[in-house]
């Protein structure tokens, strides 16, 4: 007999609402049905009513965590519609924003992932380190989370030399911290027990289900826009693709920690090699676009971000299409969950770095008894802890 287990849509942590229905048999998941749309705001339609210059300010509110990526990707598309090439210094600052954002996002994710596994101390550690990144953003743009740094034809603010010096110091500090986190994840037996061989996605599945970002790279698939089609200044930068092999939750963690190191290298390189000169070119707000269409792809912290613009010669776009990385990763997460245990749901769902999805309100419906049982994420977490304790007790007894 199978049960239906409802997952979501509301939760107290940080992510947007999503709803999963799990068909479970005993402890194992047989089937998963995701339901999206709790966060639908009609943004593509809203973007059609905004002028080319306004569009980026709306686009960065698609997601507050990767706001710099949305903002930059949107304006990169607008520039391609107009045929504008931003000055070199502007592109360097843009890359700086993107890489700094990747570090902030991965630190945030690492904390949440360890929190889901019941390791709250490390959650506090990573979020303390993340504050330093937000301080840099605040100094650079005046805002901590949604920074509006990009504009059509460059960036809105210049960076100072003293800021670049600070950036270098920050890189040195964070390099040590990433080493510490990697050592901890690889050596702590509790983390290994919770992450190893959990939520495995094979390389073939990753490719056939179009997984993107660190989820695909942890399975060994070479999916990275910075690698496939270098944009901005990535072709000159010391960028290296980071690949995993196993495709489990541990590989996804290691890939993200290693990516932070690559980002730190790129940041140091930018601090040393940033050219002087203009950081933006003038763009009048009411400029009419030529009849044209353009696509823009960048590698956001969670994977490939895609924007499509169609212009019919007005001051506003006539069609905008956005494809975000989490949406591409919903099908792979369904595949990862099949055949796994209920206790592993929080870790597997968190392992794709969902911009949606968290596990707050869970309803267990027992079809046979027609009874409804509600459990919260906290209860699920403590249930998972107990379940693992029991499991290891039995195994130890056998030995």
């Amino acid at each position: 007999m199978t049960f239906n287990l409802y997952f979501g849509p509301f939760h107290p942590a940080l992510k947007e609402p999503i709803n999963f229905t799990f068909e479970v048999e005993g402890e194992q998941i047989v089937n998963v049905k995701p339901a999206l749309g709790y966060n639908h705001r009609g943004l593509e339609k809203l973007l059609e009513t905004k002028t080319w210059l306004q569009s980026g300010f709306v686009a960065e509110h698609i997601c507050g965590i990767c706001s710099g990526s949305h903002n930059g990707c949107c304006y990169q598309g607008v520039e391609r519609v107009f045929g504008i090439e931003p000055p070199k210094r502007g592109l360097y600052i843009r890359t700086l924003v993107w890489e700094l954002e990747r570090i902030h996002s991965h630190l945030l994710w690492l904390g949440v992932m360890l929190h889901e596994a019941g390791f709250d101390t490390l959650f506090m550690y990573t979020w303390r380190d993340r504050e330093l990144t937000l301080d840099l953003f605040e100094e650079m743009s005046g805002r901590r989370v949604v920074y509006s740094m990009n504009t059509v034809g460059g960036v809105r603010r210049d960076v100072t030399d003293s800021f670049l010096q600070k950036l270098k110091k920050y890189c040195d500090y964070l390099e040590e911290r990433t080493k510490f986190y990697k050592k901890l994840v690889l050596e702590d037996s509790t983390i290994l027990a919770r992450f190893q061989n959990v939520g495995v996605l094979s390389k073939n599945d990753a490719i056939s289900l179009s997984a993107v970002g660190p989820v695909a790279r942890a399975s060994g698939a070479k999916r990275d826009v910075r690698y496939e089609e270098p944009y901005a200044v990535y072709d000159e930068s010391p960028y290296q693709i980071v690949l995993g092999e196993e495709g489990d939750a541990l590989a996804k963690t290691i890939v993200r920690i290693d990516e932070m190191k690559v980002s730190l290298d790129i940041l140091r390189w930018i601090a040393d090699n940033i050219p002087s000169g203009d950081y933006r070119i003038k763009f009048s707000p009411m400029t009419k676009a030529p009849e044209n269409e353009a696509i823009s792809r960048i590698e956001a912290p969670r994977g490939e971000l895609f924007y499509y613009f169609k212009s019919e010669g007005g001051t506003t776009p006539s069609r905008v299409k956005v494809r975000t990385p989490t949406f591409a990763n919903v099908l792979p997460v369904v595949k990862m969950l099949e055949g796994q245990y209920i206790a592993d749901i929080p870790v597997i769902v968190a392992s794709i770095d969902p911009c949606i999805a968290c596990c707050e309100r869970i309803t267990i419906i027992d079809k046979g008894k027609e009874g409804v049982k509600m459990i919260t994420a906290d209860q699920l977490r403590s249930y998972a802890k107990k379940w693992y304790e029991e499991k290891y007790k039995v195994e130890r007894g056998r030995k």
Binding site: H11, L14, G37
Partner: protein, 146 residues
């Protein structure tokens, strides 16, 4: 006398449940930030709980969209009295940048009564703490109906 006992018991232990009604995550991570080492609102007795049934305060972020409107009302009904609503961010107050989109109902106060607004896009952790402190002040003075 009973009322003053309730006020006294609420002052130091406001438990909050966070509802995202369709926001961009900006305010949501700033709320979570307020619970991490630099701001640490747990020293005031405020903590996030996993279900509205344990909560005194509903912290609502994001503009209300047509799919979450009914669910917000359900969560509000599930919260036991006395309950307070704090709208965090410009979107939760007015609809913000999303105003005019076809799926947006508007600010949170269209659906449920709001006791404190935090303006900002996204609201800073300091201003969120300030709003909660203002709410506690209101409870102390007896400005809000319990």
């Amino acid at each position: 006398m009973f009322c003053s006992l309730k006020c006294w018991s609420l002052k130091r232990s406001l438990w909050a449940f966070h509802v995202n009604t369709g926001g961009c995550n900006g305010c949501d991570i700033e709320i979570l930030d307020a619970f991490t080492p630099r701001y640490d609102v747990e020293r005031f007795g405020i903590r996030l709980v996993g279900t509205p049934r344990h909560a005194d305060v509903l912290v609502v972020t994001g503009p209300v969209n047509s799919k979450t409107a009914q669910r917000l009302l359900t969560v509000y009904d599930q919260t036991p009295d006395p309950k307070f609503v704090v709208a965090v961010g410009t979107c939760a107050a007015t609809g913000g940048i999303f105003k005019g989109a076809y799926n947006i109902v508007g600010g949170v106060d269209n659906l449920v009564p709001v006791h404190a607004y935090v303006i900002g896009c996204p609201a800073r952790p300091e201003s969120i703490i300030d709003a909660i402190a203002a709410l506690i002040g209101k409870i102390e003075k007896g400005d809000v109906k319990i």
